[in-house]
Every structure is written in C-alpha cells, then in structure tokens.
Amino acid sequence: MPIVEKSKKQTRQILYNFAFLDDVAKREIRRKILKAVAVPGYQVPFGSREMPIARGWGTGGLQITLSLIEPSDTLKVIDQGCDYSVNAVNIKKFVQAVTGVRITTDTTEATLIQTRHRIPEEPMTEDQILVLQVPYPEALREVEPSEQKTRAMHAEGDYGRMWLFLYEDIIHYGEVRLSYRYPVLVNNKYIMDPSPIPRWDVPKLNMARTLFLFGAGREKRIYAVPPYTSVEPLQFEDHPFRVESFAGKRCERCGAEDTYLDEIIAEDGVTRHYYCSDTSFCDKRRRT
C-alpha cells in the first residue's frame, strides 16, 4: 500500500504528515493520555480519528502509538504474542511507512511496543511504553449495557453487581468463568478492563516498571496504568485468581516451561503441540 501516492499526474500527489495524524489530533491524544495517566484506570473519552485500518483492528492503540512516536524510537508490534501475525504486520507496515522508524522484534530493544492481547514474557523497563489495543474498554459491560449507567457506576464506586457476577460464577461453576479480559481493580479505585490479555498476563500489570497505555479506537476511550501502580484481579479470599495452567507442558521449540503456550492441533486432528505464544522470546531462547 503506497502511503505517498505518486500517480502519473503529479497534481494528485498526496503527502501525509509524520506519523499520519495531524498536530491537532496528536496534541489532543497526548493530553488525553496525560489525563489517563493522572487518573489510573479511568476511561478518558477522546476524539478518535478514522485510520486506514479498520475499526476493531487496533485503531485506538495505533492512535496512541502515532501520537507518541518520534523518529528516534524503535517499535515492536505484536498480535497474539507474534510479531508476524496479520494485525501486527498491517500495523507495522503502516507505522513504518508514515514514520520510517526502526522496527524490532526484540522486546528489550524496543522503546515502544504496540500489542494485541499479550504482554511480552520478558520484563519491560521504565524506559519503555506498552500500548495495548482494546476492543471493549468497559469491564462493567458484562453486567450493564448502557454507557451512561456504567459511567455513573464508576463515579459512585458502585461495583456490587460486578462482584455479584463473579460470586454467581463461583457458586455455579466453582470458578470465575472469565478467561481473557479478566477485570482488575486499579489503584484501589477503578475497575478496569485490561484488554483481552490472558489471565497469564494480568499479574504483569501490578506494580510494573512500565507505563501501560490502553487505546480503544472504535469506543473512543484511552486509559492507563502508570508505573508502580497496584493492579489487582477481582478475587475472593477463598477463591483466589488463578492464571492458566500449562502443568506438564513445555514449548516444543525452546523447551520453556514458564511461558504462555499456544496449543496447536496436529494434522491428524488428535495430537496436540505446544509452542510459546511470545514468538520472538522463543526465538531468542533457541538462539542462546
């Protein structure tokens, strides 16, 4: 997809801004990011722009990335843990075309990482920012469809219904059925949707060294977990939150026993194979 179009007629040449967004848009988004950082877990409405990738394909995360990125940045983009999955490839190609920044697959090398549904296995530092793509910014949507009402529920700390939802799961199923998108309490104040990361990644948000920014383009919300902020999954004392279990399984490529694994059905339809979901980390381990 040529971003700088040069058709035969030079009059039709269209040039885009650095990082695509115009300065007014970038300024607004940066302001909203600051507000989000100042009020951890609070969803800040923003004037989400249309991007040349589809709504629901990471336009919120993309707008955050584009409003923050500088020519000196090194960018990593992952989709479901993988640097070469469709969504990551799309976004990477686009951002590189409109910024020319260096792209990497190495988590430790990147200054800015945009991700869909995973937090990298390798710990991140204060110098890095992780931008998460968010389809549903509202954790309470599970119990209340109306935006007007959920905003009031947050304002009033009216979370009884959300807890009731978890209680009901426990009495009927022995455990909370929510798998990915597990609701968390941020800074002891707001219930937040951590984006559809698996449970495995939820503990990584707690008191982390990294700034996490969440962008929902279609729903037009930005929120944040600043470094060193408490992030607690909603849990009961006698039914503690548990991450996915891969007991007895290990990655068949790198041998890891401490990573989130993808389960893959073999051609015979019966045999299961397990590989690291974080592919670049898996590659790195194999190399060393």
Partner: protein, 377 residues
Amino acid sequence: MGYVAVKGGEQAIENACNLFAYQRIKGGSRPLAVKQIEEQLYLLIDRVMGEGSLYAPELAALAVKQAAGDTLEASFMLRAYRTTLPRIASTLPGSTARMRIFRRISASFKDVPGGQVLGPTSDYTLRLLNFDLFDETKASAQLFRRFVEHNLRSHERLPDTFPKVIEILRTEGLIVNPKSAGYSDESDGEPFDITRESLVFPAARSARLQAMARGETGGLLLLAYSSMRGYGDVHPIVGELRVGYLPVVVPDPYTKAPRVAGEVKVTEAEIIARYDSGSGKPLFTVGYGLCFGQNEIKAISMAILDRAMEAAENNSPANDQEFVLSHIDGIESMGFCNHWKLPHYVDFQSDLDRLRKAQAYHADRGKEQKTDTTNSL
C-alpha cells in the same frame, strides 16, 4: 497454521492483497473509468459520500472502484482519507430554504405552495428488468437523452427557491417551536463536533444529527423501520422531502464576508409526528434528517429517529439514543465485525483452560452428589 504462520506470514498477507485487486480485473473486460462510475452509479456514489462523510464524487467513485463495489469498504476509504485533510474553514450555517431544488414532495398536502416537483426518482418505475440495457450503446443512450431533454424543455424552468412546508405550518402555530421549553435546540451555540470529540450520553441534538448523517443507510433504515412498525410511536407523515443543491458558504479569509465556495447535493426530510403537549399547547412535533447526495431512505429514516430519540421513555430501541447512536456507524460496525477474523488463539487458549477447569469441577460435583446419595441410602 494458516494465517498465523510464524514464517512466510508477511508474504501470504501481501499475496492476499494482490489477489483481491486481481479479482476485479481477471475477467478481462474493459476497466471501468472512474468517470463512468461517478456518472452512471451516482446513487452509489451519493451513499458512499454520505457514509464516508466526505463530499467528493470523484474520490468516492475511485473508492467504489478500488473496493470492487463494496459500499462499506468504499466509505471507509473515503472516511480514512478525510481524516488526513486539514480543516481550512468552517462553513457558515445555511438555510435549506436556499436549496436549488430538483425534487421536492410533501405527503401532508395534496398540493403545496411551489407545487410538488417529482424530479428524478425510481419511486414510480415498474421494477421489471429492462432487457434493452443489455444492448445499450453510446448511440442508444444519446437518443434517449435527447428525447428526455426535448420533452422537459417544453416545461417551465423550476424557480430558484421554494417555500418550506414546515415553515408554513409553523407560522400557523401548528408545529412546535424548536426554541420552546423541553425541546432540544442549540441553534444559538456551537454545534457539537463528533469528529473531534467522543460522544457522551445524553448527546446533544447536533451530535445526534451528525452521527446519523454519516450513519449506514441500512442500519438507519432498520432502526427507523422498527419504530414505524410498532416498536415506538412516532407515526410520521413526510412534511417535506427535498433533494437539490445547497450552497456552501464560507467566510472570506481576508474580509470575513460570506462567499459561496460551491454547492453540495443533499437530501432533506422533515417529518411531522404525533402531537405533544409537553409545553402546554398541543402541537405537532418535527423530526429532521439531512444527508449528502440523493438518499431519500436515509434522510427519512434519520428524521424518524431524530423524533424517536426525543421520546421521554427509552422503551423501544429507536427511542434509546445510546442504542441508536452507538450502533449506526457502518465503518465502526463493519470494522468490529471483521475483526473477529483476526487470530484470537491466545484468548481461545484461555477459554479452553476455563472450560477444562469447569468440566473438572462439574465432574467432581457429580461424584460428590453420587456419594451423598449412597450415604443417605
């Protein structure tokens, strides 16, 4: 591992893009000229401009061509292009009384001042396939064009402006005044800008009308239809429907004097709805719709929904503004629908883990209950 292959993924994606473009031309027929699409598929262009919220017939035609006729994709391209354009000026508020009209009807009176102007419409055509179009040639098209142009010339020219039916009723005190209490009106203030701010509920009427103007035609029709069928009580009569060209007036950058910068084709619908006595005297209420191009279904649906959303009770989907406004954008909804095709295997893995745990719990509980009964026996 299909589309998530660790290696070769990038190439596969590239190939998929190329195959899509190839599909349109592989038949070998003469490539469509953008001009042809613009002129001959003008209703499609009108729809794409509306939903893409950019008035640019030529670009819309290009988008239609590139999207192989998919209206959602074409509007999407137009909308994405729109984001990159600088805002040079804001148009001055204009009155649709100044519209250069080519079609105008009122369903509320047999005749209205200025007359009923049917103009170009498919409303009265017989929906029989015209097999002659199979053999349409440049010459046959020209012949028909001359025939129509000759016939029309015998009629008088249309006047430049028409009085507005709604205004006539308003002067008679039959229609609610938008400035009266309990009716949302912001004609004195700056309108909300949904392209710069996120909608919050309850939304201002200007925000509601904007959101609908760029809404997806089918989505608006569906909701409006639900209201007319019985999930609501608007009971509309088309007060006036007009299609024509509206002057675009911008302030001169130097003198600030208003200048006409061009004109846009729009459809405007004003529906008269069941009366209301909210402010004391019973008066008819009005619903308003206006969209780019000739898209009468959309303008009427908008007007019905505009009125429905004024209802005090959210007792039907069309009355609930959060429900309507959150779901009518074609570009948002198609994007989200398409996103389910993206890989979700990490999420599914997490789901599998939950299900396996729940199944184990279920099995344990079954065993417990069995032992319970054995004990009690």
